[in-house]
Amino acid sequence: MNPRTLKVGRIAFGIALFALTVLPLALVLARSFQNPPTRTPPPGLESPDGPAASHSRFTLQYYKKAYGEGANYRAMVNTIVMSLATVIFASLIAIPSAWLVTRTDLPGRAKFRFLLVLPYVIPPYIGAIAWINLCNPRVGWLNRLAGREIFDIYTLAGVVWVLGLFYFTFIYLNCVSAMENTDPSLEEAARVSGASPGRVFLTITLPLMRPAIFSGAFLVFAAASASFGVPELIGSPGHIQVMTTRIYSSIKTGGLDGYYLAAALSTILFAVAIGASSLSDWLAHARRVTALTGKSARRSQVRLGRWRWPAFGYVAMVFAAACVLPFAAVLATSFMKVAGNFSWDNLTLDQYRYVLFERQATLRGFVNSLMLAFGTATLAVGIGTVLAYLKGHPKRRSGPLLDACVNLPYATPGTILAFGLILLWSRPIALTDTLWILLIAYFAKYLSFAVKALTTNVQQIDTTLEEAARVSGAGFIKTFRTIWIPLLRPGMMASWFLVFMPAFSELTMSILLKGPGTETVGTTLFDLQSYRDPPSASVLAVMLLVLILSAYGAAMVLRPKAKTAS
C-alpha cells in the first residue's frame, strides 16, 4: 500500500470514529446556542411578538438560565463531591481486594477473583432498588433485622455506597489484570532484601499499579457524575440534587426547549469530564511502567500469616455487601406477591409466569439485547485495541481528539448522548428506530471501557519484545499477532465483558432510541418497573443475572489457563 492510500485510510477511519462518537455531542453543543425550531404557525395563531423565531438564530439565553441559578452550582458541587467520594470509596475496596486475590495466599482467592467481578453485572438501577429495600430507614430489611433504624440509605453516603459497590469493579478489574501481568521479580527482589509485605505493597506494587488505578478511577468518576438512576432514586428522597437530576428534569418536564437548556447544563459536565480524563491520564503517565516483559512467568505468593483469616473476612464482606445482599434482595423480591412482605403466603411464581410466558415483548427484548451487546462488545474491543495501541505505545502518539472520542460520550448523561444521536442520524441517513442507532449509542458510550483497560495493558508491555520480533524479521501483523495479541488477550477478554454487560442491560439511551420492535432488556425492565410492579421487574433482573453469570462462567471455564499457572 502506498503512503497516499494509507493516509486516506487513516483519515477515513478517523472521520468514522469522530462521527460515531463526538459528532453527536458537537451537535448537542451547537443546539445550546440556538433557539428551538418552529414551523410556520397555523393561521390565526401568529405569535404576538412577530414572526416565529428562525431555527438558526443564535442565543445565549440557555446559558444565562443555566448558569444564572444558584441551584445549578449547588448541584455541580454535589456532583463533584459525590463522584470523588465514590472514587475514593471504590479504590479502598478495589485495590486491597485485587492485591489479595492475585498476590497472596488468601483462602479461596481463585474463587474470589471471579466473584468480585459480579457486582458489575447488576445494573446500578436494580442495585439501587435492592439497597432501598435493604436500608430504607423505616422498613429496610436490615433495619428490621436490627430492630431499630441504623441505616439510612437516603443520604449522600448512601448514594456513594451504592455507586461505589457497583463501580469499584472498574478499578478492581484493571488492577487484577495489571497485577497478573506485572513481573513479580521486582517484588521478590524487595522481599529478599528484607522489606515487609506492607512495604512491598506500598513501594513496589502500588506504584506499578498506578496506570491501572488511575484509568479505573477516571471510569468510576465519569460513571458516577453521569449516572442518573441511583442519585434520583436514593438522592432525591434525601434532598440531594446533582447535575444529572437537573438535566433530566429540564428534558422531561421543561417543555419544548428543555433539551436546549439541558445542553447548556451539560457543557459543564463535558468540561469536568475532559478535566478528569486529562488529570487521570497525567497521573497515570507520570512514570511509565514497563513491567510486563513476558520473560518471567514465575510468581510467588505473599504469605499473609496470621492476617490470612482477617483478610478473608474483609474480602468476604466486600463480596457480601456488593453482591450477596443486593442479589438476595432482588431474588427474594422476585418471588413475592407484594414486595417487602416476608411471609409464606406472600410467595408466588406468578410474576415468573407473566414475565417469561405471557408477556410477548420480553423474549424480543432479550434477543435484541443479546445481539446488540455482542455486536457492541466485539466492535468496541476491535477498535479499542487499535486505539489503545495508539494511546499506550511509547512510540505512538494520540491527540486530544482521540481522547475526546473515547471519553466524552462515556461521561455524557445518556439522554444527552441519545439526543445527539437523534440529531445526527435522522437524515439524510435515517437510522433512528433501528437497532443500528442503539449499536452506535452503546459503542460510543462503552468504547471507553475497552480503550482504558487495554491502554493500561499496552503501557505495561515492554516494547523490547516487539523490537526483538521486528529484528528477527517479523512484520507488523506478525508482531501484532504473535506478541501483542497473546499479551493483550486477558485484557481483551476482560474488556469484552466490560462492554458486553452494561450494553446488555442499558436503560437510559435505549428508552429514547428504541423504536417499534426494537425493545431491549433495559426498556423491558423500565416498563415492568413503571407499569407492573417491583417483583416483576425483579424477575427480569434475576433472568438477566442468571444469563450473564452463565455466560461469564462459561468464558472463565473455557479460558486458557496456562498463563496464570504459577
Binding site: 494509507l6 437524515r427 443500528w436
Partner: protein, 354 residues
C-alpha cells in the same frame, strides 16, 4: 492519529488491519442505510407515540387492524416524559416520526400547538367532550383523564385513621409517613403540584417538607414505597392503584378519594403537522374518541372524559370526580400554568430538595 508513518520498514503490512477496521465501519453504515430504506410498505403507516399502557395497546391493536385493514399502525410506547423527550428530540432534528401523540402532559400540547407542530382537526366525535377539556382551536382534545388521588397502606393504616384529603397531610402526625412523585421528573406530578400550590399556596409544601415528605421518582415508585410500608400514605394516580390491585389483589393498598377533590390531568390526543397521511391519522384519532376506543382506555383504569362512559372498575363515577375536582380545569388555567412552569419547578425544588 498520526502514529502510523513510523512503522516504515513494514508499512505495507498495515493494510489489512486498517482495512478490517474500515470495512467494519462502512459495513455497519451500509447495512444501516439499506435497512432503513428497505421498509417501503404498501399499506399506509400510522405511527403513534403514547404513554398508554402495553395492555391497552394490545387491546386496541386487533380492533384497529379489523377497523382499518388498509393501515399499518405502529406504536412507540413508554413513559409520558420519555415520549415527550423522544418527540422533542425529533423536532430538534427536524424529522418527526409520529403521526399521532397521546401522552398525559396537557401543557406540552399547548406548546406544540403554538410552535406549529400540531395539525388542527375538528373531529365530529370530539363534540361530546366538555368544552373545558378541549382546545378551542381544535389542535388537541382530551382523550383520557388520569386522576391524582391518595393511597394508604391498608396494613399500617386501618380505616378511620387515614387522612381525608390533601390538606390533611400537613398535620404533624403524618411526619415521615407521606410520599409522592417528583414533579421535576414526572408530568402528572407536575400537574398536581401546579394545582395544589395554586389552591393551598407554597406553605403547603413547606409544611410537607418540615414533615419530611419524600418526593422521588414517578407514580410507580410511590406505589412501591406505600406497598412495602416505607410510607403510609402516598399521592399517586388512581390508575396505578387500580392496576396494582388488579395485577395483584394481595397488595395492601387502599384508595383515598381526597375530600378536597382529586387533581385531574386531562391527557390529550393530537395529530402532528409532520404527518404524511393526515386522512389516515384523522381516522385513527376519531377511533380513539369513539366508544370502542374509550372503553379500551377505561379498561386501563383511566377515566374517559365523556360523562356517559362508565368509570374504570372499582372507581367512582367520572361526573363526581370532575365536579368535585380540586381545581376546575380550563384552557385559561392551562395557559396560565405554562407561564408559571419554571417558577413552579424552581420553587418546588427549593422547598423540597434543598
Amino acid at each position: 492519529m498520526t502514529a502510523l508513518p513510523e512503522i516504515n520498514a513494514r508499512r505495507s503490512n498495515l493494510k489489512p488491519l486498517w482495512k478490517i477496521a474500515l470495512f467494519c465501519l462502512v459495513g455497519v453504515a451500509a447495512l444501516g442505510a439499506t435497512l432503513s430504506c428497505s421498509d417501503a410498505p404498501r399499506k399506509q403507516t400510522i405511527t403513534i407515540y403514547t404513554s398508554l399502557y402495553e395492555n391497552v395497546i394490545s387491546e386496541i391493536s386487533p380492533i384497529l387492524e379489523m377497523e382499518f385493514p388498509d393501515l399499518n399502525v405502529r406504536w412507540y410506547q413508554s413513559g409520558s416524559e420519555e415520549v415527550l423527550s423522544k418527540l422533542n428530540a425529533e423536532i430538534a432534528a427536524g424529522s418527526v416520526k409520529a403521526d399521532i401523540i397521546m401522552t398525559s402532559d396537557p401543557f406540552w400540547y399547548e406548546e406544540l400547538k403554538n410552535a406549529g407542530h400540531l395539525m388542527a382537526y375538528e373531529s365530529p366525535t370530539a363534540a361530546q367532550i366538555p368544552d373545558a377539556l378541549r382546545d378551542p382551536d381544535h389542535f388537541y382534545v382530551t382523550v383520557r383523564v388520569p386522576v391524582m388521588v391518595m393511597v394508604a397502606n391498608s396494613d399500617s393504616l386501618p380505616e378511620g385513621e387515614r387522612p381525608a384529603g390533601f390538606s390533611a397531610l400537613t398535620d404533624a402526625k403524618w411526619a415521615g409517613r407521606v410520599t409522592m412523585g417528583n414533579p421535576l421528573k414526572s408530568g402528572t406530578n407536575f400537574t398536581t403540584v401546579a394545582g395544589v400550590s395554586k389552591k393551598y399556596g407554597w406553605e403547603y409544601y413547606e409544611t410537607l417538607r418540615k414533615n419530611d415528605a419524600v418526593s422521588a421518582g414517578g407514580n410507580s415508585s410511590v406505589i412501591s414505597r406505600v406497598s412495602t410500608g416505607e410510607a403510609d400514605v402516598g399521592i399517586v394516580l388512581l390508575e396505578n392503584i387500580l392496576k396494582t390491585k388488579s395485577d395483584n389483589p394481595a397488595a395492601p393498598l387502599e384508595i383515598i378519594y381526597p375530600a378536597d377533590g382529586a387533581v385531574i390531568v386531562p391527557s390529550p390526543i393530537a395529530i402532528t403537522s409532520a404527518t404524511a397521511n393526515p386522512d389516515a391519522a384523522r381516522r385513527v384519532y376519531d377511533f380513539m374518541l369513539s366508544d370502542a376506543g374509550q372503553e379500551a382506555i377505561v379498561h386501563a383504569n383511566m377515566y374517559s372524559p365523556i360523562d356517559r362512559i362508565a368509570p374504570p372498575r372499582g372507581a367512582r363515577p367520572w361526573k363526581e370526580i370532575r365536579e368535585g375536582a380540586l381545581l376546575e380545569w380550563s384552557p385559561e388555567y392551562l395557559r396560565a400554568t405554562i407561564e408559571r412552569r419554571e417558577e413552579i419547578k424552581d420553587e418546588f425544588s427549593r422547598i423540597m430538595f434543598e
